[in-house]
Amino acid sequence: MTDETISISIDGRDVEAKPGQTILRAADEAGIYIPRLCFHPDLPPGGHCRICTVKVHGRYMSACTSPVAEGLVVENDTDEVNEQRRRIIEMLFVEGNHYCPSCEASGACELQALGYRLGLLAPTLPYLRKVNAVDATHPDVYIDRDRCILCGRCVRASRVVDRKSAFGFEGRGIRNRLAVDADGGLGETPLAATDKAAGICPTGCLTLKRRGYRVPVGQRPYDRAPIGAGAQDVPSQGE
């Protein structure tokens, strides 16, 4: 059964997929880029950001969670889908407080890179101006919640890979926030700088202390090539 393949089409290209594979994984193997943000290849999908949403037979679904099936016709790189992805990126920008020019992650930030790739020139939506606490209690890791997009990568990584559950969510709706497994701050959790969770943030929310600007601005991954231009690389911090 292992050599059985499923035929689907993505943007008019025929793609051979494996049974049980998601649309996003099948696309990656075929070298077709589906924009994504909360997805990480080493983690189970989260389904938070919805950037990887594609249109399948007229219905919208997230490519990171939807399994392939014989004969699926997937619309990915279309104006209609990309416009809505851009609007979600814009929502994330106005939900947080993202000061790209002074952010350590600039040039390696997947949110910023997707904004560029999807043609987000300037926000048209009103800023929500939430007030978010910084947590600097950990000796090696900062949390700057102004830059948190609630993608849940650190939550999943800490639970599934590090087996520490140092992170979680708290609250509901627009008051949802990143929480830590302690009464006080992150410093009370067993998180280590070498943990998967500490280096997996797609933005500048979780950053490692004493590592700032090792790679000069201008030489960072997305300074050189747009996100998704080559392999579906996911840079981690400090590289």
Binding site: S66, I149, G168, F169, I174, N176, A182
Partner: protein
């Protein structure tokens, strides 16, 4: 933490077998006893259940019935839903604030009474309504309030108050649902056939789910029956949270046996030994009655081992009480909650019939669907399919509220026109009707000829009538606020998008919107609908989208002709800076 507190927490976790799956029950009990769930309490619960503190916090911070800050011994939850406000809830709110000496959202200085607003509590037919702890008060008038507050202050039992009367308000009974059924008849009819034949009978009746989506019930049961796994489960979804819906309240009050009869038939069909009835937290006042009905049924051999003498058919039901979260009506969110976590919907597939409660095949059915299934067992598929239309067989319970002469529950055949329903309830002069609740659609008079059915105007049962004096867009705005409040926050388009829709809609309602603002509102609404993860986000923009389509003239009347109006007041925004620098305000007529 005092030793008393520690003892209470330990005793409570012990009582629920230190089972993390019962976290919602544990949190409910402790919220009741301690008045709030402090960080210390959360830490102690986590220790007892061998969980991470952040996991406990994640779950309990999700539900509106749990508070992280101390609350009074008595919590007054006044419903401020759309219909309730139409019926005078604002006036009642002011009276409560005067009598208690605190504002809504606050605890009074003496710490004995807290007051909060809450969305629909399933009593829109007798609005305004409130919950005093778990006891409902109905048809409130401002003059009632001082007496109620006095009773609370004196520590009297509020259930003795005259305002606690809940009318059944079942104004039209039909042949299918609201008819008497002798206990056990449907189960006997089921166990005389094979499970496959039971499903076949339901299939021939063409029964579709009554929660609104209309999925064929037989197909759901069949998937569940055929799915592998040692244990199968049946869940009755009584998390009736769609604003303006209260038909399940009537079914659970007047026809509880029929509901459990249907659950038992479903259990037989899918091969389940255990079932749950997930009762919304606002309906806790029905719990005693339901437990009593369950007790009687166990006594009669209609639950338990070898039911109705059918060798090997065992089934029982546990009632899970929710804690205030609309999204738990979504079946996978309901299962998450039942397992003791926050009610965030799951990614699908897999569907609950493949992997539901505890990862086992689970059939989640609406209260009304189960009632229909029981009736079909007794009367047969042909009889059932005689009612309604070809693709929407049987009858539907409508929860009618708002500006009409006789609000209440009506059992109508599918295919009835909106106009016919309006005539029946005494609301023929309606300016608009919200069918299916906020997640449904707002119809105007030119659509009153359309019919209540899965193929035309589909509804879980909510039917809100807006009279000629009502500002329909204001209602749509409040519905949008409701969804923003109830969004679980898991996915970006719903979490951020619903809040942005509220802002954008507000600008238009306040007479500061332009054509461009209306276009932006629509684009945003379409993205929230298309890109959201679950039904809440996918329908949360419907109040905006359906009113844009059906009431364009109401928007036109509010839009301004300017090209652009800033979303903020520039002079006001600069005021503080001017004061600090001592600069004069700009001359009148200039732009800054």
């Amino acid at each position: 933490m005092g030793e008393d507190h520690a003892r209470i927490i330990d005793a409570t976790t012990e009582r629920f077998g230190k089972d993390r799956g019962r976290l919602i029950d544990i949190a409910r009990a402790l919220q009741g006893e301690l008045g709030h769930l402090s960080e210390e309490t959360i830490g102690r619960i986590a220790g007892a259940l061998d969980m991470h503190r952040v996991e406990v916090r994640d779950a309990v911070s999700f539900y509106s019935f749990f508070s992280r800050e101390p609350t009074g011994k008595t919590v007054i939850r006044l419903c401020n839903g759309v219909v309730e406000r139409m019926m005078g809830a604002d006036e009642v709110a002011r009276a409560f604030e005067e009598a208690v000496g605190a504002r809504f959202g606050e605890t009074e200085p003496g710490q004995s009474i807290s007051m909060v607003y809450t969305p629909c509590i399933g009593l829109s037919d007798q609005a305004p309504s409130a919950l005093v702890n778990k006891t409902p008060l109905t048809r409130l008038r401002r003059d009632d309030v001082p007496g109620i507050v006095e009773a609370v202050r004196e520590g009297r039992d509020v259930s003795d108050l005259p305002q606690t009367e809940i009318k059944l308000n079942l104004h039209k009974t039909g042949p299918v649902i609201c008819a008497r059924l002798e206990r056990g008849v449907a189960i006997r009819a089921a166990v005389n056939r094979s499970p496959a034949d039971v499903i076949n009978e339901i299939n021939r009746a063409r029964l579709r789910g009554r929660g609104g989506a209309g999925f064929p019930t037989a197909m759901k049961w069949d998937y569940c029956r055929r799915a592998g796994g040692d244990r199968h489960f049946v869940i009755c979804n009584a998390d009736e949270g769609e604003p303006g819906t209260f038909k399940d309240r009537v079914l659970l009050t007047g026809f509880a046996d029929l509901v459990f009869e249907g659950m038992t038939v479903a259990a037989y069909a899918v091969g389940a030994r255990e079932g749950f009835l997930y009762l919304r937290g606002e309906y806790e006042h029905l719990l005693g009655h339901l437990e009593e009905v369950l007790r009687k049924r166990r006594h009669l051999g209609l639950l338990g081992e070898n039911i109705c003498g059918c060798e090997g058919f065992s089934f029982d039901v546990r009632i899970q009480v929710g804690a205030g979260a609309y999204v738990c009506g979504e079946e996978s969110a309901l299962i998450e909650s039942l397992e003791g976590r926050r009610g965030a919907p799951r990614d699908r597939p897999p569907f609950p019939v493949q992997s539901g409660y505890q990862g086992e095949p689970t059939s989640v059915n609406n209260v009304e669907t189960l009632c229909c299934a029981a009736r079909i067992m007794v009367e047969g598929a042909e009889w059932f399919a005689r009612f309604g239309t070809k693709d929407s067989t049987g009858t539907k319970l409508l929860s009618v509220s708002g500006d009409c002469a006789r609000p209440g529950v009506y059992e109508v055949e599918f295919g009835a026109s909106v106009a016919k329903v309006l005539d029946m309830v005494g609301g023929a002069d309606a300016r608009g009707v919200q069918v299916g609740g906020p997640s449904g659609r707002c119809l105007g008079p030119r659509d009153y000829g359309r019919s209540i059915s899965f193929d035309d105007v589909s509804t879980g049962g909510s039917f809100m009538v807006f009279g000629p004096q009502r500002d329909v867009l204001r209602m749509m705005y409040e519905f949008t606020e409701f969804f923003a409040e109830e969004s679980c926050g898991w996915c970006a388009p719903c979490r951020v998008g619903m809040t942005l829709l509220v802002r954008q809609f507000e600008k238009i309602l306040n007479g500061k919107g332009t054509r461009a603002d209306q276009a932006a509102l629509e684009r945003l609404a379409v993205t929230v609908k298309n890109m959201s993860r679950c039904g809440l986000g996918q329908t949360g923009a419907n109040p905006i989208l359906t009113s844009l389509r059906n009431f364009p003239e109401l928007y036109d009347a509010r839009l301004r002709s300017e090209e652009f109006i800033a979303p903020f007041d520039l002079a006001e925004a600069l005021r503080e800076g001017r004061q600090i620098t001592g600069r004069k305000p700009p001359l009148e007529g200039t732009h800054a």
